[in-house]
Symmetry: C2
DNA sequence: ACATCATTCAAGCGATAACTTGAATTATAG
DNA sequence: CTATAATTCAAGTTATCGCTTGAATGATGT
């Protein structure tokens, strides 16, 4: 028996929490929730230097939140399993349930106007089946190409204004992005509503949609 | 709109994770999962100095994992809601699913022998109803007095050997303690099995039992 | 076997966190 | 209103974390 088993156990639990306690690592996990990637691609996407990115990834691996394998010259990282995603989600839920600060930040995105309720994934699936909705994918083109909700239109935030006149203003728009950590969809909905369109946000993002076992086109 | 809403949001999520990233604060949360308490009682139970304890509690409050109220001269802290408990549980599940380290620590407790599966709460409830089980509460007497599973016997680890001869060796023993962070039940089961008794551990602890809406006697 | 290139290691710096000690608050109780 | 007692704040020390820079590793593929 070790000197203090109780303390050693707590230390292990704390290690997992500490791995989630840096914004840079949450960004990396958000990227990895989209799809597995190599170190350089992750560094690119997050704006971290390669060495720094590698160190963060090793901390995530030490906490067993991600795993790695070699593919040719690159080391590919990915989330260990769905539990990692669950943990990220619960972290977000607790933060949003509890912190007035978070609400103020999200409020700021929509310029003080209250954001409407998010659309649930089952609702969106039903309305997709009857064709009564336009789906907007507000992610970079490469992530869209790697997989998206069938029928979705891929637009960056800056392209939105240009496309608005071509949209049927009576059909509701549902926007989604990378997931709950991502603010693109929030911003898109705010922009569309300011232009007088009926827009709402999908609950979660593509990783959650995929995790539900719903169809993904690539 | 703030300078970088995305980064600000991630910072908030990271704050919650950081609050869970120190063993001392996990100890405090484990105590608070038992029942609400004042600063001095918590400092006593965890072995922290009062000032240090107060500072940790304020970090937990900043992350909105706990709330406080004044009662007479004392400030009483308690978990904000069940989500806090859920988050602690998921943290533990991920750590135990993933970290070989954790298994080795728990293995060490039972001196290399594989620990048997934990008993689920619904199983224990059913077997309590038919009286085919002895329930052991391995927590300090004051926590036992504040609430326990009906019919449970309260014993400290050191008292276990003395009581063994009085037990019916054909009836299975189920031991529980504060919860998944707590190793008392693990140690009790290991000790009992070494003495040749048929003992297993309850899944989770009293907080989880109570959260299930099952009867608690005090 | 060797050259290549992505990744990882190592050292250094500035910033932040944990813990201790001692003083300042703050709400109650007399 | 003042005294009291619990809690919180503040300052100082040590340790750890995040990031940068530059060198080392190690598997691949020629």
């Amino acid at each position: 028996m070790s000197i203090s088993p109780k303390h050693a156990l707590l230390e292990e639990y704390a290690l997992v929490a500490r791995a989630l306690s840096a914004p840079a690592r949450l960004m990396l996990l958000e990227q990895l929730a989209q799809r597995e990637r190599g170190v350089e691609a992750l560094a690119d996407k997050t704006g971290l230097t390669i060495a720094n990115c590698s160190q963060h990834l090793q901390q995530l691996r030490r906490a067993a939140l991600v795993t790695s394998r070699r593919d040719g010259k690159s080391v590919i990282y990915r989330l260990t399993d769905a539990k990692t995603l669950e943990l990220m989600d619960l972290l977000r839920i607790v933060a949003e349930r509890n912190l007035a600060q978070v609400e103020r930040i999200l409020q700021g995105l929509s310029d003080g106007e209250d954001a409407p309720e998010a659309v649930s994934r089952s609702d969106l699936a039903a309305r997709l089946a009857e064709g009564s909705v336009t789906v907007l994918d507000v992610r970079p083109a490469d992530e869209f190409a790697a997989g998206h909700i069938p029928g979705a239109i891929n637009l960056t935030l800056t392209e939105i204004e240009g496309i608005v006149p071509t949209l049927d203003s009576s059909t509701e728009i549902v926007a989604y992005c990378r997931g709950p950590y991502c603010v693109y969809a929030h911003q898109a909905v705010a922009a569309l509503r300011k232009l007088g369109l009926n827009a709402r946000r999908l609950e979660g993002g593509l990783p959650e949609w995929r995790e539900d076992g719903r169809p993904v086109l690539s």
